[in-house]
Amino acid sequence: MCELGKAELFEKLKESLLGFDSVAVRKEVEEAIQTGLPVEEIIEALRGGMEEVGNRYRAGEFFVTDLIVAGEVMREAQEVLEPSMKNASTANLATVVVATVAGDIHDIGKNIFVMLLRAEGFRVIDLGVDVSSEKIIGAVKEYSPEILGLSALLTTNLEEFPKIVDALKVDGFRDKVKVIIGGATVTEQFAREIGVDAYAKTAVEGIGFSRMWIEKSRG
């Protein structure tokens, strides 16, 4: 396929993703595979589409519900790509461990963060809700993530954050992992006081920090 044809196809793919047209997205991904385009490039085109979804969310044109539908369309596209991905060099951007801390079972924000991370190409270890600090530290040791994302909604569970940060320090992991926290009752002042790297008011903000850190670390 010539460069112009490729550009047109990828533009169409992006437009279909932005229009949440999963039938068209599947068809265009299949077409791209059949014409022999490298899987890495197709994935990159889809990521470009998701980046635009994030931009439109930040601009107030899209909403969290749109992020969910876009994530669903992206998942379908990945299903089509899956058989072709065996030989492709589609390395993950980075590994992120994510959890809602002990005593808290709220997970909507966390789940959206996870979905967007995956769509961006991050490898995500989602530990779920009501996760003890021991289990979180254990996951950091096991998976050596570049980023640790923690969430809590209830004020009673905010004390879990400094507990985890302290445990990371004691075990010598604090300098190796960026810690980002989120949740409605978290404030920026609180985040600063407990010494995490970032506080994200929304999942999209969290994605922004994650991308920034990874881009910085890669120079």
């Binding site: 909403f63 539908v69 789940n111 009501d130 929304t202």
Partner: protein
């Protein structure tokens, strides 16, 4: 107190400001974990309200948890003859995080099939969260439609009588309606992400289900007709991330515009519980016809300023308005006092002061007395 609350409903000026915080969650968790401050140990929740000198709102009532006189679902659902409900759960209340044995499984068995919900208690057994929602696919929707079509509602006279004896002279009866159909699916029966993807994938089937849920409100209202209810509250738990403006315009406004005139015709006023981020929705709220909003949460916990709230709500009244986090020890007392003063200035006389939305379990309960002092001073000057 009764007349002061009625004055807010009726838009009358000159009445005393009422402070009616929700402290039941704080009480339940601390009672369960043995951490109630010494002064309050051995007291009933009602007595704590009295000791603090604030207006009761949630009390430990007839029927246990959730049976508050000033905000309960005052109806009993009567299921169809061919609908059976099966439930199993462990009655134990655990102190630590629950395990699978604590899960509560509920099944509705009907000729159209069975739907199943799994819930687990939160860490102190004081609330429940859904682990598995009733509605997972189109087949479940068909079962649920059958249940809804067969269901009727009955006024809960026993519970009302209990509450009236204890609070009838002090509090106008405020009862709950179910969440508006969209929010009911998102929070109660289908889950947020699944509701969003089902609306996108199966719009026709979801529209049908939403329509049947909408019609179910006519049955709820029929059961409330002629009852001594002053305020009907939709327990919507609105957050703009769950219900963004396009959803609000498409699903919520038409629903409210159909139902609210019927509530007004019954001589009742109506409110909705908005406890999330609402900045994008406030400009639309007056189109609903609601008389007031409950629990709108300003900065630093919510996403709106008091001025934005006032502007968006127009002449609607506000119940609550003090962010819960201001009752926590890491926020200065001056911040709390300043907020309360500005809130009163912005909303009185269209205000029933309260916490948005609950006193946190680790809050300093004595801060309620400080707020009460501000309210007393304000009322003395009237």
């Amino acid at each position: 107190m009764y007349n002061d609350i009625m004055a807010v409903y009726e838009g009358r000026e000159g009445a005393k400001l009422v402070f009616q915080p929700r402290i039941k969650h704080w009480f339940d968790v601390n009672l369960s974990s043995g951490s109630l401050p010494k002064h309050y140990q051995g007291m009933y929740l009602d007595e704590i309200y009295e000791d603090l000198g604030v207006t009761p709102r949630e009390v430990w009532g007839y029927g246990g948890t959730g049976s508050e006189f000033a905000g309960y679902y005052a109806l009993t659902a009567i299921e169809g003859d061919d609908v059976e409900i099966w439930t199993r759960h462990s009655p134990s209340r655990r102190q630590s995080s629950p395990t699978e044995v604590d899960y509560i499984v509920t099944e509705y068995r009907t000729p159209k099939g069975t739907i199943r919900q799994v819930q687990r208690p939160t860490e102190h057994g004081t609330s429940l969260m859904n682990v598995e929602y009733y509605l997972k696919d189109l087949k479940d929707i068909e079962v649920y439609k059958h249940i809804l079509q067969e269901r009727n509602y009955m006024w809960d006279e026993a519970r009302y009588s209990w509450g009236w004896k204890r609070y009838g002279d002090r509090l106008p009866l405020r009862a709950n309606l179910q969440r508006a159909p969209l929010m009911w699916l998102m929070i109660g029966t289908m889950g947020f992400q699944r509701t969003v993807t089902m609306l996108w994938r199966y719009p026709k089937e979801m529209e049908e289900l939403l329509h049947i849920l909408d019609m179910d409100f006519d049955k709820q209202l029929e059961a409330y007709k002629g009852r001594p209810v002053a305020e009907l509250n939709f327990v919507d738990n609105i957050h703009q991330d769950l219900c963004p403006p396009p959803y609000f315009r498409k699903y919520m406004i038409p629903f409210f515009q159909r139902i609210i005139p019927k509530i007004h015709a019954m001589g009742m006023c109506t409110t909705s519980h908005w406890d999330g981020f609402v900045k994008q929705l406030l400009p639309l709220v007056q189109e609903t016809g609601l008389d007031g909003l409950e629990c709108v949460t300003p900065l630093p916990q919510g996403d709106v300023t008091l001025e934005e709230m006032r502007e968006g709500m127009g002449s609607m009244f506000l119940r609550d308005g003090i962010p819960a986090v201001l009752f926590c020890s890491w926020v200065s007392i001056e911040t709390l006092k300043d907020h309360v003063s500005r809130l009163i200035e912005a909303f009185y006389p269209r205000l029933i002061l309260g916490i948005s939305d609950l006193l946190p379990a680790n809050a300093d309960v004595e801060r309620l007395r400080l707020v009460n002092e501000i309210v007393k001073e304000f009322n003395e000057k009237l």
